[in-house]
């Protein structure tokens, strides 16, 4: 298989509990959906792929351009959405000019984009975070419950965006409880128990 990313023989222990044990996953271009009940390790799997938690055993192979969008937006309070995204884009060598149009395409007005993020609604913060997909244009996109807190319009846009990314041969890994329609277009559905 022509993999974009992989976890091989991975064990992740948090506290005294092994969340993943000897886990293997090859991620090909396209959509991979991760499903499972609460506490099954969906978020841990994505965090392991993002390099945010140490592996007790095994190896992780991910491209340099990997984008992780966690359960929370990951934007610094006290700073506007625009400045947050400009800062994050600068680490990828992306022009700050890309930020404004991306935020607008996710439905944030220029006025909202310049407000401190903590004054935005949860849905607006999530949409600002999702606009990183357009700004940073990564080869591997890790989305943890990306449909939480967003309205139908933003959810539709996200579904379209996921299809576009898959069409561009990028890999998208989505951990979610909902959106069963995702499974039909996914390369692979991983069930964690």
């Amino acid at each position: 298989m022509n993999s974009t990313a992989a976890l091989r023989g991975v064990t992740v222990v948090l506290g005294d509990r092994a969340i993943l044990r000897g886990f293997d996953l090859e991620i090909a271009p396209g959509v991979t959906v991760v499903r499972g009940p609460n506490g099954a390790g969906k978020s841990t799997l994505l965090r392991a792929l993002a390099g945010l938690i140490p592996l007790s055993r095994g190896t992780r192979v991910v491209p340099e351009r990997t984008l992780y969008l966690g359960e929370r937006p990951g934007l610094l309070h006290g700073v506007s959405a625009r400045d947050n995204l400009r800062f994050l884009a600068s680490f990828r060598g992306v022009s700050p000019d890309a930020v404004g149009p991306a935020l607008a395409s996710w439905g944030l007005t220029a006025r909202d984009a310049d407000r401190p993020v903590e004054t935005l609604s949860a849905g607006q913060r999530r949409r600002a975070a999702l606009s990183r997909i357009d700004i940073e244009r990564c080869d591997l996109v890790l989305l943890d419950e990306p449909f939480a807190e967003i309205d139908d319009a933003a959810a539709t846009r996200l579904m379209q965006k996921i299809r576009v990314l898959a069409g561009e041969r990028r890999a998208v890994v989505i951990a979610t409880h909902g959106r069963p329609e995702l499974d039909a277009s996914a390369n692979r559905v991983v069930h964690l128990s």
Binding site: A50, G51, L52, I53, P54, E64, R65, T66, L67, Y68, G70, E71, R72, P73, G74, L75, L76, H77, G78, V79, S80, D83, N84, F87, L88, S90, F91, R92, P116, V117, E118, R125
Partner: protein
Amino acid sequence: MTIARIWRIAAREALAERGHPDGFVAAITFVATLILVESLAVGPLAAGQPPVAAALFWIAMAFAAILATTRSFDRELEDDAIDAILALPGGRDALYGGKVVALTALLALVALVGGLLSGVLLSLAIALPGHLALVLVAGVLGLPPVIVLFVTLALRLRARGALVPILALPVLVPQLVAATNGTAAAIVGDATGALGWTGLLIAFALVYSVLGLTIVPTALE
């Protein structure tokens, strides 16, 4: 390049502090209150003794630094902003340096205000103001590398608010002694003493900066 990333994180920190200057305000309030209480409770004669004034000033600075650093990382943990940095290429390596640079700038402002307040409220007659400025700069440079290191190591612990002072303050004792002696020396006009203690403070700052830059990226996993 890591230096550029460090500056980016420092600039982001400055933006956040400008938006919500709670770290700065808390640090200034703490330092000003301590100096005011010192001048009122101990009396201007005793409080104006160079070693007493210097010791209280640096104790206040140490606590103010812990306060501002803890607030800075609390802000990172709201909405998991720190995860966005750690998941970026080079983010883990730049985080420590960026925080140290930003907090050094913030503490420099706090030291300036605290120093002026001490001078006025305690009626300090400073024999060597240039040397005093050098000691203050070196002392301020030495605090964030240690405190950011311990805050980072305790980042994911629930009791970090209690743990950071317990871990950091004993390590800071030699620096606080050096800063106190250097400040007192500059106030009374002992140029050699002031410069000697300044050198020691710079050495502390360098050692802990190198230590932090080396171990924090690994510790953040």
